[in-house]
């Protein structure tokens, strides 16, 4: 996949914008997923994920072609998410969720819960609980947990994405796990 991506990047560098479309197709789910798990809101996640691809495009000339493109792209995406989290007032979230304005939680995506089998409702509720507990983590722990357990990236990749020593990444993962354990142990 990396070889194909590099070929496309070279085309983009020559000014062929269409080649970038293929790159977006390849990574859109992963970038969207990082954003959604970090922000907990589909609308914001889409906004940030699009922004990440646009920034990557604009700065593509500064990408070192010998490196892994996904590492660079995920770094842009996580930085944008962290920025967004920092700018956001803590209570903004709750308000948005109470108002239920734009499909912010998983329920609102599903018109009628009463038609669903018991088991599906339960697993949906469980998933909501997990997502909301991830969102309660301080952003530095949330980032590593999302990259490690949702994107299933290695410690080395995470350390490259976040530009942090591997020891720091480990410590954050350990603390993130402990914090989540306390929140989720009675689930």
């Amino acid at each position: 996949m990396e070889a194909l991506v590099k070929k496309r990047i070279l085309q983009v560098l020559k000014g062929d914008q269409d080649a970038y479309g293929e790159i977006v197709e390849l990574y859109k789910d992963k970038v969207y997923q990082i954003s959604y798990r970090m922000l907990g809101n589909r609308h914001e996640a889409e906004d940030i994920a699009q922004e990440a691809f646009i920034r990557a495009f604009i700065n593509i000339h500064s990408f070192n072609i010998d490196l892994k493109f996904s590492t660079w792209l995920f770094r842009i995406a996580t930085n944008l998410c962290i920025d967004r989290i920092r700018k956001k007032k803590p209570d903004y979230y709750l308000d948005a969720e109470v108002a239920g304005t734009d499909g912010l939680n998983m329920y609102s995506q599903i018109p009628s819960k009463t038609d669903m089998p018991e088991k599906e409702i339960e697993s949906l509720e469980l998933e909501e609980t997990i997502q909301s507990e991830i969102l309660k983590l301080p952003e530095k722990y949330r980032t590593v947990i999302v990259l490690k357990y949702i994107e299933e990236l290695s410690l080395i990749e995470i350390s490259k994405i976040l530009n942090l020593p591997i020891g720091t990444v480990k410590t954050r993962i350990h603390r993130g796990r402990e914090a989540l354990r306390k929140q989720l142990r009675h689930v």
Binding site: Q17, D18, V24, Y32, R177, R181
Partner: protein
């Protein structure tokens, strides 16, 4: 829990798959005799399983096209190449084009004056041409370097070069323009417009 922290560290090393065999043995031996550490370890493993169980979500439909639409404009050179690919008729007429392009581009650059086709029913305010409400303009309208606001009706084609058609969003429903609507805002469009005009004129002469 009064156990030394080292056992918690071993647990995390284990979960990171970075525990040494020696330490793993120490951890296992301790877990056999310590219920607290055992439940701690189980809870950690359960936590990971729960986080991993969240189903993978996908980007919304049209995500890629939304990104592509927001990208800044590409370099003209490639755009030109692709444009030729998409309009093979023009490529075939490339000799003709080569002869024409120079003068047309010059025309594009020099021709920045506001102008509009004459019609008694048109109102002109600054650089905006207005088709007033209740009025019907018979014939084609060509606006250069200005905007067009359609409040009434146009019986003919509408062409706006280097400007906007403000009433555009109403057009679909109201059907105020009976002919074709065209906005020309780029050099390529401008060339294309002339090509079509020349072709049309040629066809008319042949007729």
């Amino acid at each position: 829990m009064n156990c030394p922290d080292i056992y918690t560290d071993y647990m995390h090393d284990y979960l990171d798959e970075e525990i040494t065999p020696d330490n793993e043995t120490k951890l296992r031996e301790h877990l056999l005799i310590c219920a607290d550490c055992q439940s701690h370890f189980q809870e950690l493993k359960k936590t990971i399983a729960l986080v991993q169980s969240t189903s993978h979500i996908q980007a919304p439909v049209n995500f890629t096209s939304a990104v592509m639409a927001r990208l800044p404009n590409e370099k003209k050179q490639v755009g030109l190449k692709r444009w030729f690919r998409r309009h093979p008729m023009v490529t075939a007429a490339s000799l003709f084009l080569t002869l024409m392009v120079g003068s047309l581009i010059t025309g594009w650059n020099e021709d920045q004056e506001f102008s509009v086709s004459k019609n008694p029913n048109l109102i002109i305010e600054n650089n905006t041409v207005i088709v007033p409400e209740g009025k019907t303009v018979n014939g084609d309208i060509v606006v250069k370097n200005g905007d067009l606001k359609i409040e009434g009706q146009v019986d003919g084609n509408v062409t706006v070069i280097n400007g906007d058609i403000n009433g555009e969003k109403y057009l679909a429903s109201a059907g105020q323009v009976t002919g074709e609507i065209e906005e020309i805002n780029q050099l390529f469009d401008w060339l294309w417009y002339h090509m079509k005009k020349i072709t049309k004129d040629t066809v008319n002469i042949v007729k």
